[in-house]
Structures are given as C-alpha cells and as structure tokens.
C-alpha cells in the first residue's frame, strides 16, 4: 500500500482532505438570472430585482474563490481494504495443446486476404459483365450502365443504344456501388470463412452467391424496377459465382487460413481471451 499513499493528493496536512465549502451563491445567481429572464414575461421590475441579485451573487461568488477557493478540511483515517468476491474461480476456454503459440497466429490476417479476395473477385466479376455486354448488346458498357444508370441516376426510358454508350456519371456511380459491395463482401469472406472452414470453396464460391442472388432476384423489382426489367438473371448469377469463386479461392489459399482451419473454434473466430492472446508483461515490475 505504500505505493498508493504516495499518490494521495490530499492538499495540506497528511491525512487531511480538502473539499470545496458549501456556498449559496450559485443558487442565488441562478435565481437572479431566472428572475431577470422571467422579467421579460412578468414585468421589468422583476428583471431589475434579478439583475441586482446577479450582481450581489457574482461578487459573493468571486470572494468565495479568490484569491483562494474556500474549502473545508476533513481529517481521515484510512486502512487498506481487500475487495471480496465469492466467485474466486474464473473459468477458461478449454484448448488442446497447440503447436503454435496462440499469440503468433494472428487470425485476423485472413481479413487482409478477404480484402484481396474482394478486389480480385470484383475485377473478375466486372470482366464477366463486360463480356456479357459485348456478346449480347455489343458494348462493354452495357452492364456497367445498367448498374450505375438505372441505380440512381436520371434514367427515364433509356433506349438500349443509350445504355450501350459510355457515360461518365453512370460509370462512376457503378464503380462506387460495385467496389463498395465487392470490398465489403471480401471482408465478410475474410472474417467468416475461418469460422466455417470445412468446405471453403463450396460455401464461398457456390452457396453464398446463390443465396444473395436469390435475395436480390426477389427484391430487385422494388429496389430497382428499371434494372429489373433489363437484367439477364442467368448472366447475373454467373458473374456472382465468378466473384464468389475468385474471392473464396484467394481466402482459402491464404497462409493464415490454411494454418488455422484445423484449430478450435475459439481461435478461428479470433476470440480475445486469456490464454489465447499474448499477455501484457509491462507493469509487472511494480
């Protein structure tokens, strides 16, 4: 306890604590201010009274704190105390013996793989969409414009020819939507594939794209009727599968992923619990 008492900030004598002395001036000042405002409603003489109270209380308050804050000194006697708990035992998450020290594993590194996967998958998907546009509508920009133009921009009964042209505005909107979605999906892959690691390619390459394509198929009529009326769902599904396969492949072949996929769940989800994360030894020297 010696160390602690050194930090005592009780000014003045040892074992004495000073606390600010009670004072009525804040109350009087508040009352005066309320009256001086209330006088606007109740009559000028009340404002005058209020201002008078303010003046008096400001002077009073001033004399309270200057040159020294008035304080009361309280003497105290202290003794060390032991904080008691009836729950002395702390359970730990049971882990088998590990080859690596948990602290070296850095499971969150799969997030970076996910980010990469998202970017590669997004590029691959864009390529598929452009091939689709070139093959079916004769312009690589068709799919891009469908996303960017029908999404939010001034799309009023555009003809197929118009959609096939290149528009800067539509392109930028499409780029924004596409890259946001790709990166976010990649991050989800990076975060969640280690949690469900048994068949990464099936899950990320086939199952997940099928699920969200289905959801989008159901909701597209409301989210974006203009896009809904022109979209080619088979091609859409193909592009999503390509995204899923590429992004999933990148994550599944990441070194960190391979290393942790056989480990217990607690490690794979990256729990920060005693025993799994590195202990902080600083400060033990006290």
């Amino acid at each position: 306890m010696t160390e602690i008492s050194k930090h005592s900030s009780g000014h003045g004598h040892e074992g004495q604590i000073h606390i600010p002395a009670n004072t009525a001036w804040p109350l009087v000042l508040a009352f005066g201010l309320t009256l001086s405002f209330g006088g606007i409603l109740l009559g000028i003489w009340i404002t005058v009274l209020g201002l008078l109270l303010c003046l008096i209380s400001i002077i009073g308050w001033f004399r309270d704190v200057l040159p020294h804050e008035s304080a009361e000194y309280v003497s105290v006697e202290v003794r060390p105390f032991v904080s008691e708990t009836t729950r002395k035992v702390v359970d730990r998450i049971e882990l088998p013996l590990l080859e690596h020290k948990p602290g070296e594993l850095l499971p969150q590194a799969t997030l970076i793989a996910g980010l990469k996967g998202g970017i590669f998958g997004g590029v691959a998907m864009a390529v598929v969409v452009m091939i689709y546009g070139q093959l079916i509508h004769g312009s690589v920009w068709y799919g891009v414009n469908l996303l960017g133009g029908a999404g939010v921009a001034d799309w009023t009964n555009a003809t197929t020819a118009q959609i096939a042209e290149f528009h800067w505005g539509w392109f930028l909107i499409a780029l924004l939507i596409h890259s946001t979605a790709s990166i976010l999906m990649g991050l989800i892959y990076g975060a969640m594939l280690p949690m469900l690691p048994s068949r990464p390619m099936l899950l990320s390459g086939i199952a997940a794209p099928l699920i969200w394509s289905g959801l989008l198929y159901a909701g597209m009529g409301i989210i974006n009727p203009a896009m809904n009326s022109r979209i080619s769902w088979p091609w859409f599904l193909v592009s999503q599968l390509v995204f899923g396969l590429v992004a999933g492949w990148v994550v599944a072949h990441d070194e960190n992923f391979k290393r942790i996929r056989k480990m217990p769940l607690a490690i794979r989800v990256g729990l920060e619990v005693p025993g799994l994360i590195q202990e902080n030894h600083q400060g033990e020297s006290h």
Binding site: T86, G151, G190, A191, Y217, G219, P274
Partner: protein
C-alpha cells in the same frame, strides 16, 4: 417470389385494418372509408407500399435473427444455482466485429439505393400534359381548393378523375399544414411563403380521406380532407356544375339578404353576388358538398343551421365566429345556403 410475399403481407395488413374498423363504425357522420397506407389506390402510394414491404421484410429478418440470438442467450446462459465461478472472460474478436459491421453496411447500401431511387422517381416525376392541376391552400383549419384551368374554387372536398394524374401545388395562408391522403400519396407540407408540389395517379374510384398532419392550432384535429376519385363522366359533370355561378332562387331571397347584411359576406365568397370575402371557404356551391367544417359533420340543413349558430359546437377553435342571428334569420340563411347547389 417477392410479389407473392407482398400479396400475403398486404392481405394480413388489410385484415388487421378491417378488424380495427369494425367495432365502431356507425356514426351520425355517415359511412366513411377507413384509411390505410397499406391499401394504396394510387401510383405514388403504391410505390411507397412496395418500398415499405421491402424495408419491413428486411427489418423483420434482422429482428428475428438478432432477437432470436438474444432470446437464446438469455435462456442458455442463465447462472445455474450453486455455480460460483466466473465465466471465461472474452474481450472481443476483430473477426466477429468485422462481420457484424460489414453486414449492416451492405443492408444499408441496399436500403439506401431502393429509397434513393424512389425519392427521385416520385419527387422529380415530370408533369404530363394531360393532367389536372390543383392549387391547394391550407388555412386554419380548412383547405382551399382551386382548379386554375377550370376557374373553380371550392373547399375541403377535392374531385379528381380516375387513371389520370393530378398535380397539386401546395400553399399555406397562415401556418404550416400538411397534405396527407394515405391511400393516394405520402405527406407534403403546405408552408407559408414556400411552394410545394405533389401528385397522385389514382387507380380506383371512391372516396379517400385525408387529414392535416402538421399541428396547426386548436382546430387541427378537425381539418379533414376528402378526395373523391370520380369516373371521367362524373368528373366532367362535377366540373360543369362547379363552373356555374351561384343559383339565384327567389324563394330564399330573405336568406340571401341576411347573408349579405351580416358579416358573412366579408369572409365568404359566393360567385355572382356581392359576397367576395376570401378568409373563409367559397360557398358558391356549398350545397353540393357532403360535409361542413372541413369534414367535421355531414352537410344537412340541421347541421348547417347549428353550424351557423355556433360553429364552436362542432369544431372547437374554429375561426368562424358565432353569428348571433335570431331563429328566423337562421332558418332563412340556412335555406339560402342549402339552395346553393
């Protein structure tokens, strides 16, 4: 698939709406339709309903997942009696937190795109050439309805044709009001010194109720609005009648005199007479309207007489003063107003 869900949800909500309407329906005011934003009868309201279903189903999904996990957790992780140890301490997990940060972002992106699309689709819809234009002016506590193209001024009851767009210019004469007919369109405020617009494209004939939905003073609760969606023929006939000047019936000349001799004429207009006040509703075709006091009571001779005698009785806070007429004058002026078909 989604449309199927839509239909089902819609059926449920309509059913809910009906049960709500059943227990108390008969009232002196006559049979009125209920209002329900999930039973749209016009284009913007219908599109909003679609968005509502999308948002509702996403939110319901989130609620089931998160609520379910919470329910599971509080049942599964109760402290067992006699257990005196602390559970394993978990400080966090970057991966899990990343997952539940990113998933909501993706949902937000979808909801945002859907909302943004509809905002532009409804707000920036250009007015087609073949559409009706109406200027709607909110007053404390009634609606002034003007059809500039037809030269008609009426109040509180709007007639529009079915399957044709009607564009509203919304103004206010005093404080902020808000135009809202749930089955036809969402709200748009009527703001003094500021012009707003909105539009409807009704698909079903019938009467649709609306109500001022921005608090505007003591009479706010009784500032109702009635929109009659007519067949084209009905609408044409109505227009034709409204365009005529006021009926001059010698049988009610005494009542006309009472009207013109008292302050009535300072606030109300009756086209074709010296009465040209603008403060209150236009009365040129008062008798052709179904209700009095902005949808407060049915327009019957007895109600009309009571209204003139003491408007506050039906509509507390109304700005029309009690006219201090004797019984004879009341009868006469009521008869006169009832003749204004």
């Amino acid at each position: 698939m989604f449309t199927g869900i839509c239909k089902e949800l819609r059926r449920i909500f309509v059913a809910v709406g009906m049960t709500a309407a059943v227990p108390l329906s008969a009232w002196a005011e006559g049979v009125q339709p209920g209002t329900n934003m999930f039973e749209p009868a016009s284009k913007p309201a219908g599109e909003i309903f679609g968005l509502a279903l999308l948002v509702l189903s996403i939110c319901a999904g989130i609620f089931i997942v998160v609520g379910g996990m919470l329910l599971y957790a509080i049942i599964r992780y109760r402290r067992k009696p006699g257990d005196t140890s602390e559970p394993p301490q978990v400080f966090g997990s970057l991966q899990i937190e990343m997952a539940w940060t990113v998933v909501p972002i993706l949902i937000v992106v979808v909801l945002f795109l859907a909302s943004a699309r509809l905002i532009f689709a409804i707000q920036d819809a250009p007015q087609p050439k073949k559409s009706i234009s109406i200027t709607l002016v909110g007053h404390q506590f009634w609606w002034e309805v003007r059809y500039p193209k037809y030269g008609i001024v009426t109040a509180n009851e709007i007639h529009v044709p079915v399957d044709k767009a009607t564009y509203f210019k919304l103004l206010s004469a005093d404080v902020v009001h808000s135009f809202w007919v749930p089955e036809l369109a969402g709200k748009t405020d009527c703001i003094p010194n500021h012009v707003n617009t909105t539009w409807i494209l009704p698909r079903k004939t019938g009467l649709y109720l609306g109500q001022c939905s921005q608090f505007c003073g003591a009479g706010h609760a009784r500032m109702l609005l009635r929109v009659y969606v007519d067949t084209p023929a009905q609408f044409k006939a109505w227009i034709k009648n409204q365009q005529k000047p006021a009926v001059e019936d010698p049988a009610v000349a005494a009542g006309r005199e009472v009207f013109m001799d008292n302050a009535c004429m300072d606030c109300h207009e009756i086209r074709g007479t010296p009465a040209n006040g603008r403060f209150g509703p236009d009365l040129t075709h008062l008798a052709s309207r179904d209700t009095l006091g902005s949808g407060t009571v049915l327009n019957t001779p007895a109600n009309l007489r009571e209204w003139i005698k003491d408007p506050d009785h039906f509509k507390p806070g109304v700005l029309m003063p009690a006219m201090q007429l004797n019984n004879k004058q009341l009868d006469e002026v009521t008869a006169y107003l009832c003749s204004l078909r």
